[in-house]
Symmetry: C2
Subunit: 520 residues, 2 copies
């Protein structure tokens, strides 16, 4: 058994089932080992940003890591932006990065690069294997590190000689489960529960900011009962890793993206309690606007940090407040009225999506300026999960949808994606076609980096023709129907409510991927 086989065996033992890959020469022994050791499904992406973004989407829905397989420093580099997003989403990802054979590195061949240096800024754990015999242990350790609460990025660098050298006659059988038992979230002490119960008992207005594990169905219900009992307000983070929404779930409004709106929304509160979330901050800094969004006069409290046991803390607080009998206020099914036919606008587009969203859908939303309308309209749609870009590095949506569909073969994925963002990683469509994934992509084609028009004003910069040229994508217009078909995904264009409804209904009823370009 060579090092690569030993590593594959260890990864399978540690629970890895999927590998998103864009391999090259230095990874050929690892790929060959996947052939000889069945148990890992290998999914090819034609660009590494697809690979890492798909691993993010997979982990969000599977609640366990996939591995990525990347080719040397530049291959890793192409995946960094979506690893940044995965890192901010606090999900587990294990990267396997091929490296030259150790004796080759000093020769400074064309692809030689500082992989450790590139990996450091987006990885919680980086290790370069030194020999074939250590790959069994290193593979298991990488999975353990990725699964440390709440979910981390672990990068294992694999020199080609460690993959092809002889490892051991048979793999050691050290069970991973014993190690991983220690990596769950830290418990929250009773004193903290008591203190926050005290705050919520008081008269001063309080808000709970929910994120992470607090946005799963059961935790949301507990938060709903706590709010009902205490009079506290519930809000959630502006950008969510994975949020349970729709009919039968506790509906929670998000902290607004815009700084003035966020400040106004949070101004009434004397107490801000974070639950699996960071205290809200501005996405960008603006001249003459604060970065922290909580009122300076408010007291801040943390019920459970992101790496703590959020679900248990909510359960304990619910018990402490004797709220378990309260009505959590579940959202009733309340799809919007059908709007009149006509041009597509943010409102009419959101209307169609909200009416047609199927039960148990996974919504991947990277709709940027159109996000608030879509989020609001789907509040009373059938139960669904809502996944968003967490790290702000646009180009996460199509890969996230790809990975989520791999994780959940029985569920429909609806990807709501801005045209500017979609261009960063459009290669994901090819993987969707190859794997026959049930992903419906709705490209929201406003033919601009629309967010920048707002932001230009926000930062108080004056825009002229050069600036306008940097924000408009209409010269030439992108033809998303052609782009999708070029990668094997059937597609159609919609420029009216009726056309969108017709195409979306058909797409959601058909197996495999479909793309609709909604022209706004």
């Amino acid at each position: 058994m060579n090092g690569a086989e030993s590593l594959v065996h260890a990864l399978i033992d540690a629970g890895i089932e999927v590998c998103f890959a864009n391999p090259g020469t230095s990874e050929m022994h690892f790929v060959a080992a996947l052939d000889r050791t069945p148990g890992i499904r290998c999914v090819l992406g034609l660009f590494e940003g697809v690979v890492t973004g798909a691993a993010d989407g997979y982990a969000r829905m599977a609640d366990r890591p996939a591995i990525t397989l990347l080719h040397l420093g530049p291959g890793f580099a192409n995946g960094i932006a979506n690893l940044h997003n995965a890192r901010k989403a606090c999900v587990p990802v294990v990267n396997i990065v091929g490296e030259h054979a150790q004796r080759h590195i000093e020769l400074d061949a064309p692809l030689t690069a500082d992989i450790q240096g590139l990996a450091g800024p987006v990885s919680h754990w980086v290790h370069t294997a030194g020999s074939a015999t250590e790959l069994d242990r290193a593979g298991r350790e990488a999975v353990v590190q990725a699964r440390r609460a709440p979910g981390r990025i672990a990068t294992l660098i694999l020199p080609a000689d460690t993959a092809w050298d002889e490892a051991a006659p048979s793999p050691p059988t050290e069970p991973v489960a014993t190690t991983t038992a220690a990596i769950g979230p830290s418990p929250v002490g009773a004193d903290r529960i008591d203190a926050i119960a005290e705050v919520l008992h008081g008269d001063a207005p309080a808000v709970l900011i929910l994120g992470g594990a607090a946005l799963r169905p059961e935790a949301l219900e507990r938060a709903g009962r706590i709010a009902a009992t205490s009079g506290a307000t519930l809000l959630c983070e502006t950008f969510k890793t994975r949020m349970a929404r729709g009919a039968g779930r506790v509906s929670v409004e998000a902290v607004p993206y815009g700084v003035p709106a966020a400040l106004a929304r949070l101004a009434p509160f004397a107490h801000v309690v974070t639950v699996g979330a960071q205290a809200p901050v501005a996405f960008f800094a603006y001249p003459d606007q604060p970065g922290e969004l909580c009122p300076p006069t408010a007291e801040r409290h943390c019920l459970a940090a992101i790496d703590e046991d959020v679900a248990a803390a909510l359960q304990a607080l619910e018990a402490r407040l004797q709220a378990s009998g309260a009505d959590p206020g579940l959202q009733v099914a309340d799809p919007p009225e059908r709007c009149a036919d006509g041009a597509l606008t943010p409102a009419t587009l959101a209307n169609v999506v909200a009416r047609l969203l199927p039960e148990n859908a996974i919504v991947v939303e990277e709709a940027i300026t159109l996000a608030p309308a879509l989020f609001a309209a789907t509040r009373g749609s059938p139960a669904h999960d809502w996944l968003q870009l967490r790290g702000g590095a646009i180009g996460d949506g199509l890969p996230l949808a790809t990975g989520a569909a791999i994780a959940c073969p029985g569920r429909r994925v609806l990807c709501l994606e801005g045209d500017g963002s979609a261009m960063y990683t459009l290669q994901a469509l090819w993987t969707q076609a190859r794997e026959g994934l049930d992903v419906t992509t709705l490209i929201l084609a406003n033919r601009s980096y629309a967010i920048l028009h707002h932001e230009m004003d926000n930062v108080q910069a004056r825009s002229g023709p050069v600036a306008q040229g940097m924000m408009t994508l209409d010269r030439p217009a992108l033809d998303w129907v052609a782009l999708a078909q070029g990668m094997g995904v059937p597609a159609a264009r919609a420029d009216s409510v009726a056309a969108l409804e017709r195409h979306l209904r058909a797409a959601l009823d058909t197996r495999g991927p479909f793309l609709i370009e909604a022209v706004l």
Copy 2:
């Protein structure tokens, strides 16, 4: 005048004329400053790998740097792979990377990342501006650093507040020229010239390995005369930054890519003299094959290192050998005979390209397995420049072609590009359409990562169905005509010699970009 305006002014003063950009909110003041301070052409790319690859292509043909404008850490990260290629190509690039306002960084907003950490591995110089008032000096210094011989990567990180804060009432006028005078290549001492002349005078067989500045027309002619006088053999690096070729130039064969072929080619030589090149090494390590390609028994000599004055060293050696009257052996015009019509093969495709290549073309070649046939066939085509991927990070070709066309508006760019490689940065086609660039892209569609089939054998790995799945791109087949049209580039498919000839002839005769998918 704010910091951004001060910086733009300094960059213009230092000779910057082009900005390849994919900006976001944190760069809006810089973009606005470009509007108010005319002198820099701003070219939008819809993905950062396009931006950095275009800056590489521009620098290769303009012999001076462009700037890139990138959005925070993730935007920079998306550009790393092509900066790696530019670094290995030894060309100058100045990156301007937006950063959050300094007071915002500690808040850990979604886009916060370790930009310095990401920039370090691919930059020779990294500086984070600390205030608006230092941006004049920092901008000039960045250009000086990029222009240090032979060409380097300089990265200036620009916190948003340093861009919007007040700089100075008028820019200082410290001339950059005085600083840049000191950054040319180091001279080569007479003793080294003498020693190498001695080697070449001797009877033992010697080879000159040419790279960098040795591949420009005049330097090649001197090398040709040196070879004619001394009996030395000329070879060039396997992958060239920019090589003058074709009729009227000294024709030089490249060191083969494959290790056995390279070893055989170099085996006869007792002396290996590098001239603006590294001593040849294997691209990858393979079990049981050496990494160094020079015979272990050969003596190695360096006439001029990459950062030394290669042209002057060749001139001095030519004089020392009294070779200036020798016949350099210029290539005669010798296009191949027209091949019969029929299916496209590497040979017939190369035949068509070699026959139709226009005078003074810029050939960007990222043809991977098809490269040797194309290089050999075009030896007697009209004079042209040949640009290649230097760092092995595939996905450089379309951006390189884009940047080269911006640098040389009067010249035709022909991009010979593998289908697998093209997918990494296909967004470059949109920029070609927007800017109306005279780029003809020939996609060599073998519908596989063909190189990996060879490499799988080379590394002695056994390929099964998983491995086969990682190397084939035919399920589904990419439709490059649709992909190009989706980005506004007219396109056609050719699956025969006659069709390729017809489309290529038409494309080369028409202004603006065109793409031909040559199905092999």
